[in-house]
Amino acid sequence: MAETGLTYTVYDADHMTQAEIYGAVLTRLGGERPDIVALTADLAKSTKIGKFGEKYPERFFNVGIAEQNLFGVGAGLALAGFTPFISTFAVFTSLRAAEQVRTDICYQKLNCKIIATHSGVSFGQAGTTHHCTEDISVMRSFAGMTVIVPADGIETAKAVAACCDWEGPVYIRIGRGFEPRCYENDQYDFQIGKSIQMADGSDLTVIACGPSVQHAVEAAKVLKAEAGLSVRVLNMHTIKPIDKDAIISAVHDTRRIITAEDHSTIGGLGTSVAEVIAETGKSCLLRKLGIPDQFAIVGYPDDLYNHYKIDADGIIEAANAIMGTELEADEDWEDEF
């Protein structure tokens, strides 16, 4: 069994990107597990999966610029009994090779671990061809696929280690560069499918994933100090299977929920949370923060997070708005029909 207590210190998390940490963890796991093989499509350097290749060249396959082939070959290696880790950018994984991932990997319940980098608008300057604000939506719709969005480098290390022992296909989406550190150290319990409460609160819950988690934590502090609001923050690192219990408790305890993600507001974390809320039958105010139904503009990731209001400022603005909105009683609806 792969060890999950990792030696990732705050120093590493501050000096390595999520992808660099991924490369280092995978290389270490490769020493423990001869069944691990690694594949990429001319992005060994960019995704850092190449670190594994430097150490274990015989277990590393670069198929050139050919993503559909990449995931098909990965499926074949899984059928042959290996545990393939496959990395390219999120957009080429979830859109270009979507059918290979769905039909070759998920349909056959293969043990492929897909670590996709440059997700969301984290490669902001590259424009729409390299943004990927649809992957959570696409990947979670594939039967049997587990979808994980680590909040920072430390959590990336934990997720990569954890997915090794998780049966079936896993999709882990990470960013491009120096996402803010969220965790002080790795002394916390990471379990696939179990969200992590970063702060407790009773007025409002912010449910976030990826880089938005740290922004939510900051926003909660400001809201406490400036508006006296008690804000619960949940790190929903696993989008599927989603932690229903935590969402239901948030509905019960706070009745107001904001979701924040570096992804389209269609089909991602916000939609996943909305589905759970709707099934509870309880009334709850929900605001979904993310990239609206548009192709995002070009820019630096931090500017884009601000522009699309998924950073601390945006979350604070949404929190103030949602606190000023009343939950309507059913009778109040009469005049609207």
Partner: protein
Amino acid sequence: MPLSNEDIVKLKEKAWSIRRMIIQTTIWAGGGHVGGALSQTDILAALYFHYMKIDPKNPGLEDRDRLVLSKGHGGIGLAVVLAEAGYYKDELLKDFNHTGSSFGMHLDKLKVPGVDASTGSLGHGLSISVGLALGAKLKKASWRTYCILGDGECGEGSIWEAAMAAKHFNLDNLIGFLDRNMLCIDGETEKVMALEPLTDKWKSFGWNTISIDGHDFAQIGDAIEKAKAFTGGPTMIIARTVKGKGVEYMEGKAAWHYGGLDSGMAEKALASIDRAYGKA
């Protein structure tokens, strides 16, 4: 008609100024796909400044020739060429890659005048070009479609689907350029995923092929003339090029696929380009 000596002198001047501006824009942008932008430069210069029928004052001209930069990461180079051709002012390039700019690394057709297709995801451009060329045939129009491919890009299966279709529909109004600089991101194409014998592959897909030195204007011109005269199918001009061409310290180096430049490096790059054109 082959290019005259005067034409070649004029095109060299253009290429010199495009290469300098690519370096300048890379500085403004805080980084860029400088290697591939420099390898494709002479091909784009010959097309935009001699062969293509275009009207920079009227980018939507119905009868214009079209160009699809299938290796869309060369966008920084195409953006400079389009500025040089007069589609917009150079100054706009100062915002390249900046937040809210019309110019990202991969050019957006809806934001940058003169761009005929939005590209950047490799392996799409040749299919789009096949569609454009089919459209021209349907309309009985005389304009041509030019498509610039990366060599690493030819690893994409979709390129070969398009290759088959272009021959099947006998698209002699489609002319491809393969920027054969021998490198992709992770290193040499022949080590990452061997492409050779590449000319034979295009031939076996039914294409007319012409192999040239992609930095020699006389050869580029000659190849375009021959491709235009060829009937009954598409032509692929396989242009041997050097990634980073013109900047000595970048030439042939995979590490310069994408890079940023500090002022010292930029100065060295500009000096190197000037030397290459006898301007130093």
